[in-house]
């Protein structure tokens, strides 16, 4: 009887299996028919890096500091650039990346001091070569002379504003010093050291995700 019981039990488990697969076969397929439909890319989707175009300057902000080139574990970034005639800001004149080598680790993005790198949304690119060099500056190249001109103007304006501010600050400081001196004289030497405490309590803004696209240009 135990023999028959075991056979029946085994048979029952087999039928259970059939029932489950039969039930599953009635459900809708989960296939994503890829080339016919576009895949949904998540916000964090990692693809080849690209330079961010900042609105206020209508261009990228790569200053050719080589931080990303140096940290890249795949050695796939090549940058050239530096001081540009006429403006203070340094500019990249060459930014190439070999996407065939890239391991999408994102260290370059995290390390960028001007936050000008981000992941692109490429997903269906194919390379025809073992070297798959991407020229990241290409889309900015035509605009570059205009940018330098605008940047020069901006810098001049900034310098002027700075000078004015400096003058104002100096003036204010002189006034404050004078006032303080007067107060100190009045209070007899023990001036309260207020004003420091609230400032140190501010949370550092460093916790933000570094790739938040709208990072302000310096």
């Amino acid at each position: 009887m135990a023999y028959l019981g075991r056979i029946l039990h085994g048979f029952k488990t087999l039928l259970t299996g059939l029932r489950i697969t039969g039930r599953e076969s009635m459900r809708k397929p989960v296939t994503l028919t890829y080339p016919h439909v576009e895949p949904k890319l998540t916000g964090a989707y990692r693809s080849a890096i690209k330079l961010i175009r900042f609105e206020e300057m209508d261009s990228h902000d790569c200053v050719a500091c080589l931080a990303c080139e140096q940290i890249c574990p795949s050695f796939c970034i090549k940058i050239d650039g530096g001081k540009i005639e006429g403006i203070k800001k340094k500019r990249a004149t060459l930014f190439e990346m070999d996407f065939a080598l890239c391991s999408l680790c994102g260290l370059c993005i995290d390390v960028c001091p001007t936050d000008t790198l981000e992941y692109s949304r490429l997903y269906d690119e194919a390379g025809y070569d073992r070297d798959w060099n991407m020229d990241l500056l290409e889309e900015f190249r035509d605009f570059e002379p205009t940018f330098i001109e605008q940047q020069r103007e901006r810098e001049e304006k900034e310098a002027a504003a700075k000078a004015a501010k400096k003058a104002a600050a100096a003036k204010a400081k002189a006034e404050a010093d004078a006032k303080k001196a007067a107060e100190a004289e009045k209070a007899g030497g023990d001036a309260p050291k207020s004003g420091d405490a609230p400032k140190s309590g501010e949370a550092p803004k460093s916790g933000d995700a570094p790739k938040s696209g709208e990072g302000s240009a310096s």
Binding site: E96, E125, G127, Y128, D129, D131, W132, N133, M134, D135, E138, E139
Partner: protein
């Protein structure tokens, strides 16, 4: 294929086998005790750890010919249960080939592959190993890959200019 039940662990009796043994702070470096021993004590140490119910966590080596002028063998023992990691450092001669140590395989079969890997990567030989041959690198390799004087980037031949290519964006 009968095996005894796992032993209860006890404190390993290592008295006098090590050159030095000092407790360490596991919160800082992960080790509970650090030992320094000589090569001839390696098997006896393994036996003591075995008797105490510990398992051989890993064997590896370091190429310390640069600063210590020695090849260094590293054994770590641990136990199932609350961690009690013993680090055993064994300095061998700096000559490759030449540096050698006795094999722990008779005590811990786990040492088989670890020792083969050390031999493969560093060229350190283990006396008494049943089948000391390469494990990760190809059998016909003529180098030991993790030696510091092998495969340094600055030794690499200068890269040739790649042929003209089109840029894809």
């Amino acid at each position: 294929m009968t095996h005894e039940a796992p032993k209860d662990t006890v404190a390993p009796a290592l008295d006098g086998l090590t050159t030095s043994s000092e407790p360490s702070d596991p919160a800082k470096d992960g080790f509970h005790v650090r030992h320094v021993a000589t090569a001839d004590r390696v098997v006896e140490l393994a036996r003591r750890f075995d008797e105490a119910g510990y398992f051989l966590e890993m064997i590896t080596a370091e190429d310390r010919r640069g600063d210590l002028e020695a090849m260094r063998l590293v054994y770590t023992y641990n136990r199932y249960g609350e961690a009690d990691r013993h680090l055993v450092l064994v300095d061998l001669s700096s000559e490759i080939p030449g540096a050698s140590a006795p094999s722990c395989v008779p005590v811990f079969p786990a040492a088989d592959w670890f020792e083969r890997e050390v031999f493969d990567m560093y060229g350190i030989t283990f006396d008494g190993h049943p089948d000391l041959k390469r494990i990760l690198l190809p059998d016909d390799a003529d180098f030991h890959a993790l030696l510091k004087d092998f495969g340094r980037i600055e030794d690499a031949p200068p890269e040739e200019d790649p042929p003209e290519r089109e840029l894809t964006v």
